[in-house]
Symmetry: C3
Subunit: 354 residues, 3 copies
Amino acid sequence: MILSCADLCRQLDLPPPTPPLPDLTGVATLAAAAPGDLCFVEALDQHGAIAASAAAVVLAPLDFPEPIPRNVIRVPKPREAFFTIAERFLPPPDYSGIHPDASIDPTAALGSQVTIAPGAVLAAGVSLGDGSVIGPGVYLGPCVEVGRHCVIHANVTVQRDTRIGDRCIIHSGARIGGDGFGYQWDGSGHRKVPQLGRVVIEDDCELGSNVCVDRATLGATTVGRGSKIDNLVQIAHNVRLGEHVIMVAQSGIAGSTRIGTGCIIAGQAAISDHLRIGDGARVGGQAGVTNDVAPGAAVNGTPARAVGRNLREQAALGRLPTLLKQVKRQQQLIATLESRLAQLEGSGDPEKGG
Amino acid sequence: MILSCADLCRQLDLPPPTPPLPDLTGVATLAAAAPGDLCFVEALDQHGAIAASAAAVVLAPLDFPEPIPRNVIRVPKPREAFFTIAERFLPPPDYSGIHPDASIDPTAALGSQVTIAPGAVLAAGVSLGDGSVIGPGVYLGPCVEVGRHCVIHANVTVQRDTRIGDRCIIHSGARIGGDGFGYQWDGSGHRKVPQLGRVVIEDDCELGSNVCVDRATLGATTVGRGSKIDNLVQIAHNVRLGEHVIMVAQSGIAGSTRIGTGCIIAGQAAISDHLRIGDGARVGGQAGVTNDVAPGAAVNGTPARAVGRNLREQAALGRLPTLLKQVKRQQQLIATLESRLAQLEGSGDPEKGG
Amino acid sequence: MILSCADLCRQLDLPPPTPPLPDLTGVATLAAAAPGDLCFVEALDQHGAIAASAAAVVLAPLDFPEPIPRNVIRVPKPREAFFTIAERFLPPPDYSGIHPDASIDPTAALGSQVTIAPGAVLAAGVSLGDGSVIGPGVYLGPCVEVGRHCVIHANVTVQRDTRIGDRCIIHSGARIGGDGFGYQWDGSGHRKVPQLGRVVIEDDCELGSNVCVDRATLGATTVGRGSKIDNLVQIAHNVRLGEHVIMVAQSGIAGSTRIGTGCIIAGQAAISDHLRIGDGARVGGQAGVTNDVAPGAAVNGTPARAVGRNLREQAALGRLPTLLKQVKRQQQLIATLESRLAQLEGSGDPEKGG
């Protein structure tokens, strides 16, 4: 991939550079740049770092002061501009076309320009949209629907009847559509409650490596449009995630809980079953949510409470060992006062003593 | 799958419906039902929901009041009856027979009516019981024994020498028989302690997606009969799980700990190594167990303590910020009393002052 | 595998046994030993256990007292000697050679004596060092470099450009090189920040089952030489793990955090992003680290604090419910003192009252 700076400027709505700048062959940090790399700076005092870098071109803030020791293109937001350009350098899919070492049921319906890597297995009735990429060792179960321009990375499992929207990215080892965890004690053992629902992943979602999303008992477990799920997250049966939800690594949601639009669930947080988390709520890292959370609220701790309250309680807890000593000393002071007072009462009012 | 209501009634020990009811083609919630679906209600005021549903037949409580807007079969426990019937609608395995795209060592011993999906790999000396189903991309290592009527879902790894009993269900991505996590510092690095034991999963167990059960250093890591393990659970080397244990998602047990019969370990709980958790004990969500737990006890919190004590402490913690202020005010009150008392002592007993 | 005791003694720098001892065919605990097995004892009162065992030979401490009911070899450190010998009984790889059911791109560069199991997929430009073993269903993406004498167990995914050093062990289901979790809100959705860096695993590392190590945004996520990572651990983008780090199961590290040499991160601990954890620091189980940790420090709790402080606070918390009652009683005592004092003041100094 070679990108001309004229092309870059066109994409960023900038005038072409004069004099012309060298072509770009990659992107990097200043410290790691090789010749040909595009870099960026945000702070205004990075002249030394720029001078020491092998970068071909550096994106810098509009007010970056002269003299500049290397080719610079000034832009209003260097970081954003950099990552916009960086997308151009993303590698192509690992494979292209349909590999002969894939195992594809003849009833599978494949869109145009799909990629299916070696070792992938597509069961009966699978439907795969235009331009989607299925990685090595992926299993798509019966009647799974995958939309257009999805990327399903290696060794993912998508079980029967799951529907995945357009432009989704599923990272390796994710498990979509396993049975929900439901049993009923029958007197001699835990009897399995049949899990007959499915999973629906709406458009523009990204699921991290080794994520688990269980199928519903009846109906659907749903991940709303634009939601982004980090690695090793657990989403139980019948959970409904709203749109644009963020779930950070190793967090988990128990059965039938509903998460509102735009919620942020931090790492290792847990949310109990059958709760409602309101739109825009934020759940802190390692929090354990055992009650509904109001829209826009921020909670933390186990059991989770309002962030401010949790902070006050944690701060107070830090003062507790000292408080224990203080109360003990007060006990002594009170006892002393008591005895001194009793003595005064005895001496100062002798007639009452009789 | 089409089920006649006469057949349904026979299975539920009910008389055949008169007049006859329509055949059933699926199961669903009232809200999601399509024509042909069986549904159920538990509450007695669901006439509106029933009327609005497309359900063919509804299982309702014995005392469900007339008039009923749709075909109803009355049963003592509608939910249980519903899920009993729902099992009839479970789909067949994704594949049947032995697929030519599986890689099976010639020394593997296969029972009758087994299913082996494309991409499955069976190593030397594997033994597979009658009616068991091996999903796509599953790996069964050397000398693995799988009992009868098991279902091992896609992309599971079962390492060398593991024994899995009858009627077990292993969900996709589970890792059984990886090395235990044991090292000894040798002065220059962590030297690996060889892990030469194995894993034994007894009959009627279910292991969730991406669960890890490590092999023992020597001997066996054991999951007792009828135990049910949710997604993303960690079971370390030499752990012994009793029968009918429930472990909820993302919980973990460290090395050599023994879990008694019928214990319930809630989500994200952690249990330290070399402990004994007594029969019927319950460990709360996100609890961190660092000591033995008595049979039947319920613990919570980190470090885990009795549930009642934890509740009292958490409630007390909520009052701590106020308490701090209160003690500070008492300090002032005591100082005031002290000075007033000193004044009284000085004035009321002047001869002593000299 | 048959091992003569003469050979065993040679390896342990001991004189050959006189009279000669039987050959060994395995290793086990005393309780589980079959004839032919080597066992060990550490305590000096294990004569009964030895007598009851079928062990062929027992390694015992130098001062183990006579009479000994079975063949014994005395060694200074029986446990260490035992596991040194136990390594001889580790099984060979599950497969040998390059299996025809593997899918190997013709541009892959394979060292001598490599093993590639059925169902493994090696993409273009992969480089595999001498003696390395690739398990069934493993995917090595484009330009992945694997060093010499590595073992990559079944169903592992190693994404594009990852570099793995020599003598590494990667357990089944590990995901190396998935995209880091980075987004920027663009007004209508979370826009993905391209993840263009890679993962570097240095020599002598071991990664557990279903571990996730994400690629860097730019540059590299690094696992330092000799580090050992347990199952289901999350290592986010741009994290740098020092050498000889231990991370226990289900722990996680957020983006860009640096972990010093020899740190120990216990189970289910979480470390926030952009922190520095000093060399030799220890993070307790389920701790939530939200600030830098000094070299050699030990922290615990959420939010994490010094272990001693956390212990004091937890102990104090246990006394808090009683403290609340005590302070309430003091309030009453103070009120009583106050009224008694007021009475004294009124009676004892009447002229002032006017």
